[in-house]
């Protein structure tokens, strides 16, 4: 009986050792939570959540210091996905927060004085220009964060809603005729 115990213990030790070694050797680096949260956030870097960018907000969410419903550009859909990821209840967007239609900033070239203040404000370097030269916004890179609006001393930047065209047009959700019957 003693030998049987020994044998079983030895087998257990060997297998345990193999498993322990494998868990270190073949360890799969899991995405840290911050990265996962950051992947859901819309990356407008607008700061409407009260944090200086999406990454800091993601870090705060991951630490449990911030609520998940503070991101208006992400909308209800974004809140839902965050809730799914974190295993909490989805909730409506925070008070006074409403998702706006997607827009891009446009500089009125006649008014721009070339002060470079908006260039410094842009979180994604989507404004091109130099001192005393006219500035222009690279529309394809603009996230619509509106951070360039307040610094402009001549108020020459306006937000333009992105219009629906043949390329970004989407098929609509089919209307439920069932509801009419009921």
């Amino acid at each position: 009986m003693f030998s049987a115990i020994l044998v079983m213990a030895a087998i257990g030790l060997v297998l345990g050792g193999i498993l322990g070694w494998a868990s270190i050797k073949y360890r799969v680096e899991d995405d840290p939570l911050v990265e996962k949260v950051d992947a859901i956030l819309p990356q407008t870097q607008c700061g409407q959540c009260g944090f200086p960018g999406c990454k800091p907000y993601a870090e705060a969410i991951a630490k449990g210091e911030a609520d998940i419903n503070l991101c208006p550009p992400g909308g209800d859909d974004g809140v839902k996905r965050l809730a799914e990821l974190l295993g909490v209840e989805a909730k409506p967007l925070g008070e006074g927060m409403e998702p706006k239609p997607k827009s891009v900033a446009v500089i009125d070239e006649n008014t721009c004085i070339g002060c470079t203040l908006c260039i410094q404000a842009c979180p994604v370097d989507a404004i091109v220009g130099a001192a005393k030269q006219m500035h222009v916004i690279v529309a394809s890179q603009c996230t619509g964060c509106e951070l360039c609006l307040p610094p402009c001393p001549v108020d020459c930047i306006s937000m333009q809603v992105i219009k629906e065209d043949v390329v970004n047009w989407k098929w609509r959700y089919p209307i439920h005729m069932m509801k009419r019957v009921a």
């Binding site: 956030l41 842009c122 979180p123 370097d125 996230t143 629906e164 043949v166 047009w169 069932m178």
Partner: protein, 547 residues
Amino acid sequence: MSRTLFTFNGGVHPDGHKTESNGTPIRAMPLLSRYVVPMRQHIGAPARPVVAVGDAVLRGQTLGAAEGYVSTAVHAPTSGRVIAIEPCAAPHPSGLFDLAVVIEADGLDQSIAFEPLDWRALDPSALRNRIREMGLAGLGGAVFPSYIKLNPGAQKIHTLILNGAECEPWITCDDRLMRERAPELVRGIEIMRHALGSATILIGIEDNKPEALAAMRAAAPSDMEVVAIPTLYPGGGGKQLTYTLTGVETPTGGRSTDVGIQVFNVGTAYSLYRAVELGEPLISRIVTITGHVSNPGNFEVRVGTPLSDLVTAAGGMLPGASGEIVGGPMMGFDLMDSAAPVTKAVNCLIIKNSKLFPGKPIELPCIRCGACAKACPADLQPFEMYWYSRAKNFGRAQSYNLFDCIECGCCAYVCPSHIPLVDYFRFAKSEIWEREREKSGADQARIRHDFKTFRLEREKREKAEKFAKAAEKTKAAASNPSEASAAVDPDAEKKKAILQAALERAQKAKESVAPRNTEDLPPRVQREIDEIEARRAAVETKTESTE
């Protein structure tokens, strides 16, 4: 020469309604006064307008040049003047306007000099470039630029399939084309063979078109095989036709070229013949107009012809018309604006009435009968995709291979609950595309934001380092001037040397200039000087001793 045919799973047998329009020969459209030529008539990037408002243009002149790789050119359908380049109504399910060149015809219909190509002597690559400039795009409905499809690339295209199945109900434009213009069509196929180097050529035609089969068999040389395939919708789908003829399945998410097969519509082959052998760009196509019109049939229509003018040419709508469908009843869409023009993609216009096309029945709950899965020619499970699309759970919908759905409409056709399944799939697909776009935009924004943060930090660091260095230097200079300057400034040695040299030069100059009034002095003056010197010396020793 009987070929073993394969039968794909599923498929439906809708009423053909072919006889309404296939009995009369192709008619020519009268010349119009105004044409609207959209720049986006093909898959990929829209053409870039190369004419300006006010320009005089000739038939066949390039209006828009191909922009980017997946693109092709657009040409003037007649001679006249460009009166506008602006967004106009387009044949699109959204009814949204799209950029178009509007031409006011001068009625002369003068053309540019068409240059026929000696394609047999031409290198396939040069031929493809020419085809790109000629504006060729697949006329079966997908309008993919033909020059790309005619490039075998690394893949060897052993089989070339010509799609003359025309499986959609009501449409007969390919049927009439094959009946009337088979010899020219076959010459177009030969050009395709030249470009692709395919050994086997199969021309698949549904057996409900015996006249077209006979005409093509008469025109085709012995090394092209005209195959009658059973009439079964969607037998003309690229993947389904490939399977029917060869038994080869196209891999999921792939193209038939992945298995060495290329498929072209017969209309494309005919247009290719005209483009290459006659030198005429793609400025017209055959369009079926049928349904509730007084004189249905097929017309050879210039690209840019407003659809309302096509209806007029077919004798106008009959009383009680309730709408128009662009394309077939299975895959087409309701026309929003009849000012929209015929494009390279438009093969059919059906005028609806309430008898032929009764309104959509009321959608009832899914009873999980599985009829849609049995009818699906792509071997999908439409009911599962429907659940998830309806619940907006797009990830799950995609995991059921939503993107292998060809939107043929068989599932919705057989559904006993009249669920518009394809509408859900289209909705889900465009939502997924939108998310992909948003995600790639967000990824770019993240990268750019990270870089900006990095850049700002780098600038701050560099500035701080610079200040620190300067501060250190001043401090060191204060405590140990020579060492500090030598240690901090590598140029110090050089500067010092320059300074030293200048000093030496000055010294030398000083030495070389002898004071004039100190030599050969008279003894009296010398004595005075000696006295003064002795006095000064005495004073100096005195002060030194007191110190």
